[in-house]
């Protein structure tokens, strides 16, 4: 594979990874925290109604994990496509 094709493939994979992670981001925050909050509130997690927990706790934990997963996977991909610093 020549240099230019590698770059294009690297960018495609990067965009795909972003799309997956941003889908999780949207499902957890807008899905669990807002759209389906009333349904989830009928389930309880200890003293927390589950929808309320996602809105005020769970979504934030998910955000932190998402970024570190991205950092790790992109680091691996940078080396694979030889574009790392």
């Amino acid at each position: 594979m020549d240099h230019k094709a590698m770059r294009i493939e690297y960018w495609k994979k990067n965009v795909r990874l972003m799309a997956v992670l941003l889908t999780i981001w949207a499902v957890v925050s807008y899905g669990c925290g807002i759209l389906f909050v009333e349904v989830l509130n009928t389930i309880r997690l200890g003293g927390f109604p589950l929808g309320f927990w996602f809105a005020q706790q769970g979504s934030i934990y998910t955000f932190v994990i998402l970024i570190f997963v991205y950092v790790y996977l992109m680091g691996k991909m940078d080396r694979k496509y030889d574009v790392h610093e």
Partner: protein, 592 residues
């Protein structure tokens, strides 16, 4: 020792730490002044970003707001953290690879146009000024309660301190001061939170505690949140954990405000500029992760503090005779941030849904009521509620409510100041660099010497401090509300042109300029109409805090549409966009 003595000690100690750091990291070149020399380690940058980010609104107002809003408080929690995911994935690495000093720099170069640069510059100044006014107000509030000076004097003290360390050290001074400020503010937030969590639920981790059971008192053995739901309902409020109930926000509004805050976070110039200070693209990604981690420590604790504060407040005030009211209540009455008007003259405090008086409490000097309470000149509002509570006191008064020792109360004061000052300094630097770098150097005088540019940068910080101080003394609204507006403006101006500038090669100068003007124009018009001209939320019932989302969509649409009818960008710009997409070859941030 008294609370006041402890406050002098804590505030004096922390301020001397900041000033020492500022003196040690004073700078002599523009690179140090604008991007801290470009070699800040990711973890330090994460700490600094977190302090930069967490403002007086996050520290002082947010928990109070959530306390009153219950579930709907999630807009701030998710909104102000979720934006970091967008920042880390969509912006930080590419802007770092691009390697310039400021956001208008990126916009000006990517869109090969000084007009675009000027539009971006105006947006940056506007968003930052709106935001910094809230910070100065926060400084004033903290000073007024804890050092017993006038709010305005407090604002002036804050102005002098910020001017000293931002002017001296520029970005370098700010970065290392913010690392110290993060440590102060997080300790100040966590210590009372842990103590209160232990006291109410027996669990030292607030994040778990507020989903736990109450251990003592008449509600012992009940889930805290279930008890709160019941208390809220009894007093006529929406249930604490219930979404979209009567009196709370609609689903569309919650979604819009959350998104506006997320996108605004990702578009705020003082946050973006932090990613220019790290050495590599990888470091930019990692430091976004660290920043959110450090922010999440406070942001997951805040809702717990809110629930505890709500429970404590209702329990210790509602249906309690004024003569037996706790001392924290009488202490805070002096600031007029909490007030009681005995509507039914029974000498007992009744807390119910609804407002107690028209406008903010205005003390009638020297007069006391039948049970020794202060008298206010305000008109009574209809309804049974007798208690006025300002959101801002929930965090500040919390340690007193829980009877924590004096040094903890003093530490909270120092933490509030750290939060407000760290954000104010970051914003002031953005305003100063927008004018001295983007306007003066890039547009007016390309031949200016290093020395001259530094001097102008410092003068601009001085000017910005004075303007911010003016707004701090004459605030346009209460702290968190003003801040929320800055996000709408950032969301509707920068975010679309930054994203399109990185992810498409076709977006051109004409599109970007038209998009930014339409986006921010619509958002500002709506905010002015609804906030200052008394119009209703006429667009689908969306609050002014959430309207930035609509402004952003308008910006996206206009940018794409105008770009497609006008010539594509020159070949070298398209190559530039391609090169921004790969990490290798990111040199130091440069200013040409």
């Amino acid at each position: 020792m008294s609370i006041k003595m402890w406050t002098y000690i804590m505030v004096g100690l922390t301020f001397s730490i900041y000033l020492t750091i500022a003196w040690l990291s004073r700078v002599k070149d523009t690179k140090g002044f604008y991007v801290a020399g470009g070699g800040v380690p990711p973890i330090a940058n994460g700490l600094a970003t977190a302090a930069d980010w967490m403002s007086a609104a996050s520290f002082i107002s947010m928990a109070g707001l959530i306390s009153f809003m219950g579930y709907s408080g999630a807009i701030y929690l998710m909104g102000w953290t979720g934006g970091y995911v967008l920042l880390a994935l969509l912006l930080a690495p590419y802007l770092r690879k691009f390697g310039k000093f400021t956001v208008p720099d990126f916009v000006g170069d990517r869109y090969y146009s000084n007009t675009a640069r000027v539009v971006a510059l105006c947006c940056a100044i506007f968003a930052s000024l709106t935001y910094v006014a809230g910070q100065m107000r926060g400084v004033g509030i903290v000073f007024s309660r804890f050092l017993e000076v006038d709010v305005n004097t407090g604002v002036v003290i804050g102005m002098i301190i910020v001017f000293f360390y931002a002017g001296l050290g520029g970005m370098k001074g700010i970065t290392w001061t913010q690392v110290a400020q993060y440590c102060v503010l997080i300790l100040a937030f966590l210590i009372p939170a842990v103590a209160i969590s232990l006291k109410i639920t027996g669990n030292p981790i607030p994040q778990l505690g507020f989903g736990g059971m109450i251990t003592e008192g008449s509600d012992a053995g009940q889930w805290l949140l279930t008890t709160l739901d019941a208390l809220n309902k009894d007093l006529g409020f929406a249930e604490y954990t219930q979404a979209f109930g009567p009196g709370s926000k609609s689903m569309l509004d919650v979604a819009c405000i959350t998104l506006a805050l997320m996108v605004g976070t990702a578009g705020l110039p003082h946050v973006i500029v932090r990613f220019y200070t790290v050495p590599t693209v990888k470091a930019a990604r990692v430091s976004a992760g660290y920043a959110l981690l450090f922010i999440a420590i406070l942001y997951t604790t805040a809702p717990a503090v809110s629930a505890f504060a709500r429970y404590n407040m209702i329990n210790s005030l509602n249906n309690v005779a004024y003569a037996e009211a706790p001392t924290w209540f009488t202490n805070w009455e002096k600031t007029a941030l909490i007030a009681w008007m005995d509507k039914n003259n029974d000498g007992i405090i009744q807390y119910r849904a609804g407002t107690s008086m028209i406008g903010k409490p205005a003390l009638a000097a020297g007069q006391t009521g039948p049970v020794g309470q202060p008298v206010y000149t305000n008109q009574l509002a209809p309804g049974a509620n007798e208690l006025y509570v300002d959101n801002d006191i929930m965090v500040l008064a919390n340690p007193e409510i829980a009877n924590l020792p004096a040094w903890v109360i003093a530490l909270v004061a120092a933490g509030g100041l750290a939060a407000a000052l760290s954000t104010a300094s970051g914003l002031l630097l953005v305003i100063a660099s927008s004018i001295s770098h983007d306007l003066y150097y890039r547009i007016i005088n390309r031949k200016a010497s290093e020395q001259r540019r530094l001097t102008i940068g410092r003068i601009m910080i001085g000017v910005a401090v004075i303007v911010a101080g003016y707004f701090g003394i004459n605030p346009p609204g209460f702290v968190a509300q003003v801040v929320a507006l800055a996000f709408g403006l950032a969301a509707s101006s920068f975010f679309p042109v930054l994203i399109l500038g990185i992810f498409t090669t076709r977006t051109n100068r004409e599109g970007a300029i038209a998009g930014m003007i339409c986006g921010i124009g619509f958002t500002m018009l709506y905010i002015v109409q609804t906030k200052f001209m008394g119009m209703g939320n006429w667009f689908l019932g969306i609050s002014p805090e959430g309207i930035g989302v609509v402004g952003m969509l308008i910006n996206f649409l206009v940018t794409v549409a105008v770009s497609s009818f006008t010539p594509p960008p020159p070949a070298e710009i398209q190559e530039l966009v391609e090169s921004v997409r790969t990490p290798r070859g990111a040199g130091a941030a440069v200013d040409h």
